[in-house]
Amino acid sequence: MTATEYDRAPRVAVRDYASPLAEKLNALWETKPGVIGWLSSVDHKEIGLRYIVTSFIFLIVGGIEALIFRLQITQPNETLLTPEQYNELFTMHGATMILWYAFPILTGFSVFLQPLVIGTRDMAMPRLNAFTYWLFLFSGIYLYVGFAIGEAPNDGWFNYVPYASRPFNPGLNIDFYALSNILLGISTTLGSLNFVVTLLHMRAPGMSINRLPILSWGTLTISVGNLFAMPSVTLAFFLLWMDRQFATHFYRPPTGQPLLWQHLFWMWGHPWVYVIVLPAISMVSEALPILCRRPLVGYTAVALATVLTMVLGFGVWLHHMFATGLPGLALSFFSAVSILIVIPSAVSAFAWLGTIWTGRPVFNTAFLFFAGFIVVFVIGGVSGFMTGSVPVDWQLTDTYFVVAHIHYVLIGWNLFPVMGASYFWFPKMFGKLLDERLGRWNFWFMFVGFNVGFFPMHISGLLGMPRRIYTFPEGMGLDTINLITTIGSYVFAVGFLLFIINVVLSLRHGQDAGPNPWDAATLEWTTPSPPPPYNFVVLPTLATRTPLWETRLRESPYHSDLGKGFPLDHGKEALATTTLDAQPEAILRMPEDSLMPLLLALALTALFAGLIVKLWWLVIASLVVGLIFQLIWLWPRAKLAERRP
């Protein structure tokens, strides 16, 4: 390869998705047909959809678990389930929803959307992207293998020691949970790394950091956050596994400390709450203004509030531990931060209100979900503010009030935005609009079912119903409330079923969407729906935050150039740009599809399978095979070298 090949000034071409150039790019980027092709695909859109579908399956499984154990606490002294069955079900429900649904679903949307909204052709590390998906999938299967063989974790998703330690839990159940979490932790960490690099270095030329779509701020923020949070929980589970398998004493008194677990767990656990809501909230901040026909009110404030929430989110973990006998000074500090963290959330809430108030809202299903979200966002927020106050929390903690709060946060702040986002971006993903009439039914069933099911939990909490009890006696004043809760949760489930039906029907009979059905402002809407494998036939150049609206808003003398740009067609190529200003920096050669991500994920899973059954030969064999796969994966090839533009 000659020096001129490395120092190439790319030519400029015209945007035309029917040109020979587009055909050439298509041939370069297309996933090969057949099973092998499917398994080796590194296309971010393909992987994003797999993430979304898999997460929704976990959501359904976790939901069914909840529907089953709700029957056990619908009325006093019910004996449908044994205590152990109940405990396993609520543990699996919590773990599935928080770890295998709530984060992966957002990862799915981000993997699909982020390269499109920042105007590039794939994630920075496409194979790593495929690898993180497979690992996520296998970690979930790993956990459910435990469930299937009757060794489901039974200590809640928070998994407190000493109950999780061997003397009280001698089976494999907690080992399944610990190891599947470590496996998932690897996936999450690597995925976050990929997002950080992608969002900081792959943005379209001209998309300086202050023009980063608000959608990307959520993903960028939490990806950085994950890099700091994940080590804590991975370490926590690893130490637990050591305690259980090799009788170390990290958590075992008198030399160890049960509270060490809680610190390590919540140092990750509270930031994690923001990790699984901030990208969802950013989806609202992105899509809601488009449906209100105006740019978001206070872009800078909302972006900074997103970052600030994450930063403060690292300083509130102790509010999960207010009752553990910590000194008053620590309680005061963490209480103050826990109350004041409401401020950045208030920034977002008032930005949305201002956007709706001054905008001209389109009353479609996506908008209904976002509007409904604002209501439940506020309810989940104020109940969080109540629990942030130490003395009040001494009463509230571990009651149904907190169950209500966590569901308002996780369903309210995660699932409602995800539903809205599904209606909003489904046309981009599949080229079809979701049915609006079915959508209304979908929304109202979910909104009413959710509030009927979960709002009364605040009251049962205030009446003193403890969490995680498999039954309750008569005469506690809790009978009616629990009946209402169960009914509501079933109505909610029907609502979600309507969504599935809508997706299936709309995929077949849906109205064609066209490239930009909502007349939206950002780059993903400049591509055909669904986008071709290479995303952009020529790479756009940006001059404003809202390239598709700028001629109408007339706020900037500069204009984005969407009609022509670099075609980068000398192979699978993408453009790297500088971190802050997004000046072109290098032409990247993107890797081909490969089976290695899948094979390496399988090898790693086999290693963890070996660990749980203590087949040490399997552990060593998987390690060796995995190293070989890594060598093949990473083998240096001249054609993947960067080019300077």
């Binding site: 009463q395 205030l462 506690m476």
Partner: protein
């Protein structure tokens, strides 16, 4: 003395706390919360919005304040949202196709300034109120009249009354008696896993953690029986790990204390003696009856079990039927608990039950 007669007016009779103002805010606020006050005036023994001790009272005031603020915020935001959504409905409906034009009205940002400004003020008030309440309810306000060491076990409560002279100390289980209006100091330990000590009407939770000793305090301002409950998930029978606090006058408390200090009296009658021997051999490994050779410390001390209102950690009322059923098969009502089924014959069961009934 039969404890049955000592049972004091139930907290139901002492309901009605919370100023009329706060109650009406709540009642107006939300139909659902109206439901809660209605339910609260029925029997809700774990409800902590209506409290009966100095410590829980000042927490309840803060809780009512933050509840009122929360409800208000929800109502205001929902109203703004609805008005914001519908105030321009007179314009042509911007449905597809024909979306409304894009514009950037300039008055949006003031929403953030005003909204966040007001929010910050409310949050600061709450923060300082929190500090004040924490200072008032955290540290014990003075020397304690009664000192307790309570140990959480799967799934029951061991209660030791501490004293300066060892002969004044005694151990009981699952039922705590305290004198009304006095500060009670409570040291807390976890024996196996983490439990949490919680008497909603008197004080919030404090965890009982193995390897660490926590401390809390209680004060009941009205006589009554207050239900307590384990507040931290602790395994299969977390649901049935409750206890009761009996707050009584100083005299009644002292009388109870003296009675608890007694050992089990010697028995007359062949059947009872046979029952005692049987108890000793089948139950005495885990349970203790002071004054006999049954000296187990794994399960609750049963020296005065018949003075207690309930059995199985406040799971069943203490009466003959429940007692017999429990001895016959403790796994029936509380499956998974650590007391094994003993497979006693009918006559053995009767002997043991009759013996236990002498432990007043």
């Amino acid at each position: 003395m039969s404890n049955g007669e000592q049972i004091l007016p139930s907290p139901r009779t002492a309901q009605g706390r919370g100023s009329p103002a706060t109650r009406s805010i709540l009642a107006l606020a939300l139909p659902c919360l109206l439901l809660s006050t209605k339910v609260a005036s029925a029997e809700t023994p774990l409800d902590y919005l209506i409290t009966h001790g100095a410590r829980a009272d000042s927490i309840a005031h803060l809780a009512w304040f933050s509840t009122a603020v929360s409800v208000l915020v929800i109502l205001i935001v929902t109203a703004l949202l609805l008005v914001g959504m519908f105030r321009r409905r007179d314009l042509p409906p911007p449905a597809l196709p024909g979306l409304a034009a894009i514009a950037r009205p300039q008055d949006g940002i003031s929403w953030i300034y005003v909204g966040v400004g007001i929010t910050t003020v409310v949050l600061l008030i709450t923060t300082f109120w929190t500090f004040a309440t924490l200072a008032r309810t955290g540290p014990q306000p003075g020397p304690a009249a009664v000192r307790l060491l309570i140990t959480g076990h799967q799934w029951w409560w061991e209660v030791r009354y501490l004293a300066d002279t060892p002969s004044d100390e005694f151990t009981t289980a699952n039922e705590i008696h305290i004198p009304v209006g006095k500060v009670v100091e409570v040291k807390l330990r976890g024996d196996d896993v983490i439990h949490s000590f919680w008497v909603p009407k008197l004080a919030g939770k404090t965890d009982m953690i193995p390897g660490q000793e926590n401390q809390t305090w209680l004060q009941a301002d009205r006589e009554g029986v207050y239900r307590g409950q384990c507040g931290e998930y602790c395994g299969q029978q977390h649901a049935h790990m409750a206890f009761e606090v009996v707050a009584s006058s100083a005299d009644d408390f002292e009388q109870w204390r003296q009675q608890q200090l007694q050992s089990a009296p010697p028995l007359s009658g062949a059947a009872l003696q046979q029952g005692e021997m049987l108890f000793d051999s089948r139950c005495g490994i885990c349970h203790r009856v002071r004054g006999t050779t049954a000296g187990g410390i794994v399960g609750p001390d049963l020296t005065h079990i018949m003075s207690r209102r309930a059995i199985g950690a406040a799971t069943l009322p203490n009466n003959r039927g429940n007692l017999a059923a429990w001895i016959a098969d403790p796994q029936h009502t509380k499956p998974g608990n650590l007391m094994p089924r003993l497979d006693l014959s009918g006559p053995q069961l009767t002997l043991i039950r009759q013996y236990v009934e002498t432990l007043k």
